[in-house]
């Protein structure tokens, strides 16, 4: 319990918590105090002085409430004439440096200055306005900076540094010439999270039209769940005339609490992309031609019936972006409607980690830690991909933990890591060395005297596990992970000492290494630490797509029925299915939101797989590489056009609310599935029925995994050696290549596709920054621009992909394999 101190506010005696600020106390008590430069997410600045209160107990004077700690016996007045006059006068002074063009300002209606002006007013005197001309200090293709509206509250600067860890903008100059500026006047080089624009209280930072060009009072807003990644951010979508004009987040809504990333904030122009398919297409005489829905659906059912009649398999892959409802319908359509067990989520990062990693050990295929646990943890171990690019909310959560709570974050990463410059501890593991590191820690815990793990003899599998782990001795672990005995020991001690431990495994298709094996080791470690099931502890597996977890939960998996009931006759795994297709054994291939030709590792399917499939249906919002092989293309609704629910990487089910209507001629996934079911003679459950089933699953119907099994690891592989450059194909922050690449805005912001190399490698390979390089792997080759990047580990090459998904497929590795790339100067 925090210590309580007594203070008097406006004659009322209040109990305050020791150490809290006056503003926190007043807000808790319900006393309104105007603030401008204050934001709960960042350190108090005490700059605007609008929150002044007057102190009356000897140490008199006006004090900023946001930056004054409560003192026992303090006597405060919050609404005396002195206080109100000081606030009015200060507001009047602030307005002397703010250009008052409110009637045409897009911020009108949500401008904090405007609100305060209405609420507290200004005195009658006229004050001289700032006359110095101030040139814009922030140049950006997206963000418009108007320094003559800026009142230097520095919210943008503090958010950029403290919350995002980017520090792309700062203050420049002195006195009344002070302004917000980027480094050396360069174009804004940042993550484009837009936090600065959202927080700007004076309309000095705005988003370029058409976004943000309309005053907010002429719009409507709908809150929905962002379905671009599994973070599950709650996003408030502003709509005008049926179009999304802005997206923002509210401070009081978990999990993102006011934060969004560039994709979530600016990616909504995808909805109006001219490249969207707005009518069904059927292949006629080798060409895809627009047809009516009736014709298209008839072609699909005919295709399915024909396959059935030929005795060839019917196979469907649904993207992990499907809502839970639609995913349920898809597996139902395949299993009941078409009588085929071959349904799944296709190749999706994180799926194997959950199903083949967590399930065998923990008895649940769900992450055992959520974002709250991540925020609460005392120690976090981050393995595999780079959350700064793939899971922005994980990065900001960790950053806040480190900066505000002294959280210890250990990043064990083999290639480049954007998180590297923020974390408290960094372990440079060798590529594919994560598993060895984890079992090394396990072994350390089991052999060091006095550790909890050693004493937990009650667990029957412990002995077998210990015996298997003994093979992962110091030498083996060092050989595989590059981390020696001391490093492993230090990590083991850190994790064992911490009260709350989370192991986070962000994933990506391009990340080398067996995600299932790493997840198994991570789950075993958490069990061994005695932290499985404890609050603030667990394993957090983060896939790439928004509803990976939900899709698995509702049975979109060849081996699991809804709620993880075992399928009596398991269907084919994606690689297997593609191989069968190549052999001509698949008569009907239904690809919902999947693009195997573009986005899957080329090694996972034979080129003839799609050609030899009897009938190929592609259901997507855009024409992908795979539609070249499609017999029918069905256009679908995406993002803010959809209703339903998704389950975030943290296991929480969140609702989608349609903010806008899908374009005419485009149907929702579920609508299509239902219609197909009806036509095939197996009506699928209606909306109410699906909701009833899903409620059953999500409220108590899922296995909780309360009896973990320590699965003994396989013997360690021999140490790996590489000659050449290791390839890391990573999604990049501003779009991951499938939906967001159709956002004109994001495409503009995202860096062009390039191979990023450490500066010393550029020199030793005889390349030049900005020049071209020829990249060759076993399965493909590409020409790319070369960029120097100090965050890239020497000896590795990072390709942050963008729109050329064709090239991506050539570069992706199959699970468990590290890709080598030959980088040469291009002639």
């Amino acid at each position: 319990m925090p210590e309580v101190v007594s203070v008097t506010v406006d004659g009322r005696s209040l109990a305050a918590r020791a150490g809290e600020t006056v503003l926190e106390l007043l807000r808790r008590t319900g006393i309104w105090v105007p603030t401008l430069c204050f934001d709960q997410r960042v350190t108090a600045y005490g700059g605007c002085r609008l929150c002044v209160v007057s102190r009356r107990d000897g140490a008199g004077g006006l004090l900023p409430a946001c930056d004054t700690e409560v003192v026992p016996g303090m006597v405060l007045e919050t609404s005396s004439t002195e206080v109100l006059n000081a606030r009015r006068r200060q507001l009047a002074l602030l307005l002397t440096e703010h250009r008052l063009d409110c009637p045409i300002c897009p911020a009108t209606g949500r401008c904090r200055l405007e609100f305060l002006l209405h609420r507290i007013g200004v005195p009658g005197e006229r004050l001289p306005r700032r006359t110095a001309e101030i040139a814009p200090g922030v140049r950006s293709p997206l963000i418009v900076h108007d320094p003559e509206r800026c009142v230097t509250c520095t919210l943008c600067i503090r958010l950029c540094d403290e919350v995002q860890g980017v520090a792309a903008v700062g203050l420049e100059r002195i006195g009344d010439a002070v302004r917000v500026a980027t480094f050396a006047g360069r174009v804004l080089d940042c993550e484009y999270c837009g936090q600065c624009v959202a927080a700007c209280p004076a309309g000095a930072l705005l988003v370029r039209p058409p976004l943000d060009s309309v005053s907010r009072w002429r719009t409507g807003a709908v809150t929905t769940t962002c379905s671009l990644c599994p973070c599950g951010c709650q996003v408030e979508v502003t709509v005008r005339d049926g179009r999304v004009v802005a997206a923002d987040a509210r401070l009081d809504r978990p999990p993102n609490r006011g934060l969004l990333c560039g994709k979530g904030r600016f990616g909504h122009d995808v909805l109006v992309s001219p490249e969207r398919v707005t009518t069904p297409l059927v292949r006629r005489e080798g060409r895809l031609s627009p047809v009516t829905w009736e014709e298209a659906l008839r072609a699909v059912t005919d295709g399915a019936r024909a396959a059935s009649a030929q005795g060839r398999a019917r196979v469907a892959f649904g993207t992990p972006r499907l809502t839970c409802e639609d995913a349920y319908l898809l597996q139902d359509l395949l299993r009941r409607g078409m009588g085929s067990p071959h349904v799944g989520i296709g190749l999706a990062a994180g799926a194997r980690a959950l199903v083949e990693g967590l399930w065998p050990v923990l008895g649940t295929a769900r992450s055992t830690a959520d974002f709250e646990d991540l925020a609460m943890a005392d120690a976090v171990l981050v393995l595999r991909a780079d959350p700064t690019r793939t899971h922005p909310l994980v990065k900001t959560t960790l950053l806040a933990g480190m900066r505000r709570r002294g959280q210890r974050v250990v990043l064990a990463h083999a290639l480049s890591g954007g998180l590297e410059r923020h974390v408290t501890d960094f372990l440079a593991v060798r590529p594919l060395g994560e598993e060895a590191l984890l079992y090394g820690v396990c072994r350390h815990l089991l052999t060091s005297s006095g550790s909890r793990a050693r004493n937990a003899t009650s667990n029957p599998d412990l002995q077998a596990f210990a015996a298997a782990v003994a093979a992962w001795d110091d030498e083996v672990v060092q050989g595989l992970s590059g981390i020696g005995r001391q490093g492993v020991g230090a990590l083991a001690r850190l994790l064992a000492r911490a009260r709350r431990v989370v192991i986070a495994l962000p994933s990506g298709l391009g990340v080398p290494g067996d995600e299932a094996a790493v997840a198994r080791a991570a789950a075993a470690l958490i069990v061994l630490l005695g932290r499985h099931g404890a609050p603030g502890c667990g394993v957090l597996v983060l896939g790439e797509k928004s509803n990976l977890q939900g899709c698995l939960d509702v049975g979109l998996h060849p081996r699991f029925l809804p709620a993880y009931r075992r399928a009596s006759a398991p269907g084919w795994e994606p690689v297997e299915a593609m191989s069968k297709a190549g052999e001509g054994k698949v008569g009907f291939l239904y690809l919902v939101g999947h693009d195997p030709l573009g986005g899957w590792p080329r090694a996972t399917h034979r080129r003839d797989g799609l050609e030899n499939a009897g009938f190929v249906v592609v259901q997507d919002a855009f024409l992908t590489k795979t539609t070249r092989a499609a017999d029918v293309v069905l256009p679908t609704a995406i993002l803010a056009e959809r209703e339903g629910s998704v389950v975030g990487g943290d296991g929480v089910r969140r609702r989608l609310h349609a903010a806008v209507q899908a374009p005419a001629g485009v149907a929702g996934d579920g609508e299509i599935f239902r219609e197909l079911g009806r036509r095939l003679g197996t009506p699928l459950p209606d909306r109410g029925e699906v909701e009833r089933i899903l409620s059953g699953i999500f409220s108590g119907g899922l296995p909780v995994g309360d009896a973990p099994v320590l699965v003994p690891p396989a013997p360690p592989p021999p140490p790996r050696t590489w000659r050449g450059t290791l390839l890391d194909v990573s999604p990049q922050l501003l779009h991951s290549g499938s939906v967001t690449r159709y956002s004109a805005l994001l495409r503009e912001l995202a860096p062009i596709v390039a191979v990023r190399l450490a500066p010393e490698d550029i020199a030793s390979l005889g390349l030049a920054p900005g020049g071209r390089a020829h990249l060759t792997t076993g399965t493909g080759e590409e020409m790319m621009v070369v960029r120097a990047d100090r965050t890239v580990r020497p000896g590795s090459a990072v390709v942050v992909w963008q729109s050329n998904a064709e090239g991506l497929g050539a570069f992706l590795a199959v699970d468990g394999e590290a890709r080598l790339v030959d980088v040469r100067r291009s002639k």
């Binding site: 006006l62 006068r89 230097t152 050396a184 174009v187």
Partner: protein, 724 residues
């Protein structure tokens, strides 16, 4: 311009080839940068030190160099850019032909009535270009003053200022010599200190005890630490050469000493042990002096002055200034230096004794409001402060006195900081002379290097277990109220010298802060206690005050804390016939000080640091307009009252000074000043309120004359004076 226009292509064009920096640094610049970075290392104050050195060596700190520095110190590049663009000494782009830095201190503003500024056009918008206004150069006796490169130019006229600004009168100063590298030498032990004291004691004593009519054995030539270094160097050279020419160099020694404070602004020669002193010496008079001595080594020059008080008699912090060579560690030890450190370090109860002594004599930190220094240091020790900072900042109007002290008796400050470190449990110290005052910086660097060479600073001081590392890092010359948190951020966290919020300060490393005068006083008190000489309380209760103005002789005086204005004025009233104007009051405390009318004020003035004596010919309205101009330029811009309020006051007051305001303007000024005073974060904002409201209170009629009748009683504003 409509909003749509602004939105449109508001000149947006992405940079070509931005990757890796649009502005490439030359190979030479990067080589220099690498060397500086390796030289300075990481540690405390690294950013300030690196930037100052780079500016000095490269002439500017370009963005490309800033990036390298940022990477080395693991700071975001925008943080480095903030410091560079904030600090007037640093610039991000080359400045052709050097920059004329005009002093915007109160004394300079008063003595030229803004004529110099207007002559060089520095009052234009934002003051960019080749002319800058800096807060205070600490050269109040030479007002109006300016710096061009490292050359200080004093007593400017509008004409000479214009010549300087246009480069027609440019001289280049001597570049800053890098500090001594660690030359290996044997560390001194206690016995050696005793030997030095025995050997030099008599000579040092003879300088302090004049023998009227005695022969001249030593000529103490001032080193210009408080005025023109160049002029002092030339005089010293002439003296030495003339002595050698006449064969007197075996019988008469030339010693370079610091300024004693009474003769600031003039090159002075003191004859020892004869005791007479010659002010305002130039090369010609120096040669004459030697010629006279050649004839009769016991005669005094006709216009020599005879100090009323025995030289060095009163035990003040200035007692060595003007008597002891500040470049000689031996002379410092010979005059009793390091005895206090020796006692505290080697006696069994050394620290407790020091605390007791300091508490019993009641030594307080400068400013007067603070608690006992000993308790403050003890509290720092409990809180675990690991660093002692010893800053000279312009804001507190003590700059001239501190500069004089650092230039005249640097070892006393070194010893004071060491003692403060001992008492606060710190292991490192940083002395921060004002950046740009090259001779002072060099003097301090030399003193620290000499002390380190002899084992008085560094590991195992005097063979004991006490280790203390001392660095010299020039402080940016900003007027901002450099409170503890701002200094800690500057030195320990690599930020600009800006006041920060309480919440931000809570995240900064801890430090003990002691100003140079207090450090020297602490050292002086303990030294007196060691020698059992008494007078500890008297020394503890004195303060250095700088007095300037047309009606008085400029001086840095050490007066009792309780001294009143008339007491101080009595010491410095100019006896010359040239000045007849009646004194009408003072501005005490510099730019953020207080105007007081009359001279019979009974309140003590010593703690305010500086007194600008105003005479009838000084227009307060115009002076205040200049002060507000400097303040508005120097406000850090962090808190809204300090940024918007001070600027509004400047603009409103400019209207008044031009005779354009009305009563309504005055009322708005009063209200705004009161508001800024009540809500500003730092002393700059509060001080602005104080200087404005005290001017209105003390000189209301004079201001009203401007407003109501368009008249300037002082006849300065180009308006008709009163009664005409």
């Amino acid at each position: 311009m409509s909003s749509a226009d602004r939105f449109g292509e508001a000149g947006f064009a992405p940079d070509e080839g931005q990757e890796g920096g649009a502005i490439y640094a030359s190979e030479g610049d990067l080589a220099v940068t690498d060397e500086v970075l390796n030289d300075v290392g990481q540690g405390d104050g690294a950013l300030v030190a690196m930037l100052a050195r780079l500016q000095e060596l490269l002439g500017c700190v370009t963005p490309a160099v800033q990036e390298v520095v940022a990477r080395r110190l693991a700071l975001p590049p925008v943080a480095v850019q903030e410091v560079v663009s904030f600090e007037g000494e640093l610039s991000a782009s080359p400045r052709p032909g050097g920059v004329l830095r005009l002093c915007g201190g109160a004394a300079c503003l008063a003595s030229h009535g803004l004529g110099v500024f207007e002559a060089v056009g520095a009052l234009g918008p934002a003051g960019g270009g080749a002319v800058q206004i800096v807060p205070c150069l600490g050269a109040c006796w030479g007002a109006p003053a300016a710096e061009l490169g490292s050359v200080r130019c004093e007593h400017l006229t509008p004409d000479s200022a214009r010549q300087l600004a246009t480069g027609s009168n440019a001289r280049t100063g001597r570049p800053h010599r890098p500090p001594l590298r660690g030359v290996p030498a044997a560390a001194w032990r206690r016995e050696e200190l005793a030997q030095i004291r025995a050997r030099l004691g008599e000579r040092m004593g003879s300088r302090a005890r004049p023998v009227p009519g005695g022969v001249v054995r030593e000529l103490l030539v001032c080193n210009g630490s408080a005025c023109s270094r160049d002029a002092a160097d030339r005089v010293a050279e002439v003296v030495s050469r003339s002595l050698a020419e006449r064969g007197l160099d075996r019988t008469v020694r030339v010693v370079r000493v610091g300024c004693r404070g009474e003769d600031v602004g003039a090159v002075t020669i003191t004859a020892c042990p004869a005791g007479w002193r010659l002010r305002g010496v130039d090369e010609g008079r120096a040669a004459d002096l030697v010629a006279a001595l050649h004839l009769d080594s016991a005669s005094a020059v006709a216009d020599a002055a005879w100090p009323q008080e025995p030289a060095g008699g009163a035990p003040g912090v200035l007692r060595r200034c003007g008597f002891v060579d500040p470049c000689s560690l031996e002379e410092y030890i010979g005059s009793g230096g390091f005895s206090a450190l020796e006692r505290v370090l080697t006696a069994a109860d050394g620290r407790a004794w020091a605390r007791r002594t300091l508490e019993s004599c009641g030594l307080r930190a400068r400013g007067g409001e603070g608690g006992l220094l000993a308790r403050q240091l003890a509290a720092d020790s409990q809180a675990g402060g690991a660093v002692v900072l010893c800053p000279c900042v312009s804001a507190d109007a003590h700059l001239p006195a501190d500069t004089l002290l650092l230039g005249g008796d640097p070892f006393a400050v070194v010893e004071g900081v060491l003692l403060a470190g001992l008492l606060s449990g710190a292991s490192r110290g940083i002395v921060m002379p004002p950046a740009g005052a090259i001779h002072v910086v060099e003097q301090m660097e030399l003193a620290v290097a000499l002390a380190r060479r002899r084992g008085l600073v560094g590991s195992a001081v005097l063979g004991t277990e006490f280790s203390f590392d001392l660095r010299v890092i020039p402080t940016p010359r900003q007027l901002v109220a450099a409170d503890g948190a701002a200094l800690r951020r500057l030195v320990l966290a690599g930020g600009p010298l800006k006041p920060v919020s309480r919440s931000m300060a809570a995240g900064l490393p801890r430090a003990s802060i002691i100003d140079p005068e207090s450090a020297a006083r602490l050292c002086g008190v303990l030294e007196l206690a060691v020698s059992d000489a008494g007078g500890l309380e008297a020394l503890a209760a004195k303060r250095l005050v700088t007095v300037t103005g047309r009606a008085v002789a400029p001086a840095v005086l050490e007066v009792p804390t309780a001294a009143t204005l008339d007491h101080v004025l009595a010491l410095v009233r100019r006896r010359g016939a040239g000045v007849t104007a009646r004194v009408k009051g003072v501005l005490s405390g510099g730019l953020t000080g207080v105007f007081e009318a009359g001279t019979e004020a009974g309140t003590s003035v010593a703690s305010r640091g500086s007194l600008l004596v105003l005479d009838e010919a000084t227009c307060v309205a115009r002076l205040l307009a200049g002060i507000l101009e400097t303040l508005a330029r120097e406000a850090c811009g962090a808190c809204a009252p300090g940024r918007t309020g001070v600027r509004a006051l400047r603009d409103l007051w400019a209207r008044v000074a031009e005779g354009g305001g009305d009563d309504y303007t005055l009322a708005t000024i009063r209200e705004t000043a009161a508001h800024v005073g009540a809500t500003a974060r730092c002393a700059l904002g509060r001080g602005t309120a104080g200087v404005v409201s005290s001017a209105l209170a003390a000189y209301g009629e004079e201001v009203a004359a401007h407003v109501a009748g368009g008249r300037c009683p002082a006849g300065q504003c180009g308006m008709p004076p009163a009664g005409s």
